[in-house]
């Protein structure tokens, strides 16, 4: 298990619309949506994927900057969660499963169809890192509120109860963050970054087998 951390950064609307000075987050987020659409259509997919990666890296770096001193607010999942806080790995696992679960896709798609929205939102419902203010944030809040209040059990009945409970906690944490962001009319950017853990004292515990292959 690789240690990681996920920061949910709420960007107030004023910052979202006016910062960074050269090209604002509002435009960068639209650019990202445009690239997603082009990839969906199969337009120059290889180059668009590289552009998408670079653009999201940039947006996420700017989000970290905003979270530090521009009035943004940040919530953090970590691998070594403090007591009462959900773990980053639980959150990631939940998102991965939701993205790959056919049943989850159908449930979310049906819900989205009920709520008509004029705001552009990503076609994928989970697994994104940029959520512009408005409908996208609201949708995430609603989804994760439902997950926290029993949808996890319905979608993944085959998973052990303790694991489902941990996922529901993670969903609750995210829903609370998005609720606050919604109240601020903020956009949300999720930053997934490597985490670090203090080394245990004594000999390191090693997994895998030692190999004698030269580095070449």
């Amino acid at each position: 298990m690789i240690p990681l951390q996920v920061q949910l950064v709420a960007i107030p609307p004023k910052v979202w619309n006016s910062w960074p000075p050269d090209r604002q987050l509002v435009h960068l987020a639209n650019d990202a949506l445009g690239i997603e659409r082009r990839i969906q259509k199969g337009v120059d997919v290889v180059k668009e994927r590289v552009r998408y990666r670079q653009l999201c890296d940039w947006i996420e770096a700017k989000a970290l900057e905003a979270g530090q001193g521009l009035g943004g607010k940040a919530w953090r999942f970590e691998t070594d969660a403090k007591s009462g806080q959900p773990s980053a790995n639980d959150y990631m696992r939940l998102v991965e499963l939701l993205a790959s679960s056919q049943m989850a896709r159908q449930t979310f798609a049906a819900q989205r169809a009920k709520t008509s929205s004029a705001t552009k939102v990503s076609r994928e419902i989970v697994g994104k890192t940029v959520y512009p203010p408005g409908a996208a944030v609201t949708e995430q809040r609603q989804l994760f509120e439902q997950l926290a209040s029993g949808l996890v059990d319905k979608l993944f009945p085959q998973v052990a109860g303790s694991e489902r409970k941990a996922w529901a906690e993670a969903a609750k944490f995210k829903a609370a963050a998005y609720r606050e962001a919604e109240a601020m009319r903020a956009g949300m950017i999720e930053v997934v970054a490597p985490g670090t853990r203090a080394l245990p004292s004594g000999d390191p515990k090693v997994v895998g087998r030692k190999s004698g292959v030269s580095s070449r």
Binding site: I2, V206, K210, S214
Partner: protein, 365 residues
């Protein structure tokens, strides 16, 4: 141990009888039967010579398979090398690991060579047929020669990854064995990596996979850095992974170099706990302090490995982080690549995983 002749590539034809014999295939048959000569050489020493051909996309023939040991290399290194390359080529050209040995009048190998039988037996693989290695035997042999740990094999098998495909990526030089171990044991979905399904638009999953792959590439760069001091021929770098994806790096020879006035020293034959963290400049600025604290908390030899992006942190913060590392007596190793370059390298490797059109990374004679 028998020395094989040193090859002087510029001088002309090689005098060794096996190589002469192999070259006679080209003279006698020309392109008519599509025979190709392959050789497996290490440090200019030829350890294996073989002659092979593909018929259509269905059959892979070997007409000559000769190997010799050399005191610089482990016993049967030539047989294993030749076998791995032959199996890779058979897989690449025919989609299966079946090798037919051709005897007179076309070839010199009427049966599966004794050296191959010996190696197979030592690896616990019983070859059932006299004239050919069957697909299932070839696959098992390939996996055993590659030498992935049982844990990694189990993990890959559970996730539905074809173990041959994983081994093939190693022998094609896409990922090395330690990297495949890391992917097998720590990636959330190794099957995505081995089927090239790591797509940037699925951003969260992509980042999750990339974190493991960036760690793997950083470890490779660290190995290259350590090898470059003595030359790759003399240095052996081994890596083991702990539960937190830290690399335990062991070197055959000690290395020391200076980077921007900071001396970096690694001892020989001792585990150096390398914390490998790939971030962009903003990431190091924000999370650098916790990286230094975590990496510096070990009592054993340790180091923190970072990307070139570390140079682009605001100067005051950079000096502060370097000061903290120096206070903790933590060597900070910087590789030459930026995170963007590492990502581009990873994208390229992932794309190549799905393509098997390219032959084994070996020079035809």
């Amino acid at each position: 141990m028998i020395d094989v002749p040193r090859i002087h590539f510029q001088v002309g034809p090689v005098a060794h009888p096996d190589i002469k014999l192999a070259q006679s295939y080209l003279r006698s048959d020309g392109d008519k039967n599509n025979w190709s000569i392959r050789r497996f050489a290490q440090e200019d020493w030829v350890l294996n010579v073989r002659v092979c051909r593909t018929i259509g996309r269905d059959r892979f023939d070997v007409a000559l398979f000769r190997s010799e040991d050399h005191e610089r290399f482990r016993r049967d290194a030539g047989v294993m090398g030749g076998l791995v390359f032959s199996l890779s080529e058979a897989f690449d050209k025919t989609g299966k690991m079946e090798i037919h040995f051709v005897g007179p009048p076309k070839g010199h190998e009427p049966d599966v060579p004794e050296s191959i039988r010996r190696v197979a037996k030592s690896l616990g693989v019983k070859l059932r047929h006299r004239h050919h290695i069957a697909d299932d035997e070839g696959r098992l042999l390939y996996a055993r020669i590659t030498g992935l740990s049982d844990k990694a094999v189990k993990s890959l098998t559970e996730r539905g990854v074809d173990i041959v495909k994983a081994c093939f990526t190693i022998h094609r030089g896409l990922w090395n064995k330690e990297q495949v171990e890391l992917i097998a044991l720590h990636a959330h979905a190794p099957e995505r990596i081995f089927t090239g399904q790591v797509h940037a638009e699925h951003r969260v999953q992509y980042l999750h996979d990339m974190m493991v792959l960036r760690t793997a590439v950083l470890a490779e760069r660290l190995g290259t850095l350590c090898s470059s001091v003595h030359g790759p021929a003399d240095q052996v770098v081994t890596i083991e992974w702990d539960d937190d994806c830290r690399g335990c790096i062991t070197l055959l020879k000690p290395v020391a170099w200076t980077h921007e006035g900071r001396e970096i020293k690694f001892p020989e034959k001792k585990c150096v706990q390398a914390t490998l963290i790939a971030r962009d400049a903003k990431g190091y600025e924000v999370f650098g302090e916790s990286d230094v604290l975590a990496a510096g908390s070990a009592t054993a030899f340790r180091c923190l490995v970072v990307t070139r992006d570390f140079d682009w942190i605001p100067e005051a913060r950079r000096v502060q982080l370097l000061g903290q590392a120096s206070k903790a007596n933590l060597p900070l190793v910087q590789v030459v690549d930026t995170i963007g370059e590492i990502d581009a390298d990873i994208d390229q490797r992932i794309a190549r995983v799905v393509s098997t059109r390219q032959g084994a990374p070996e020079r035809p004679d």
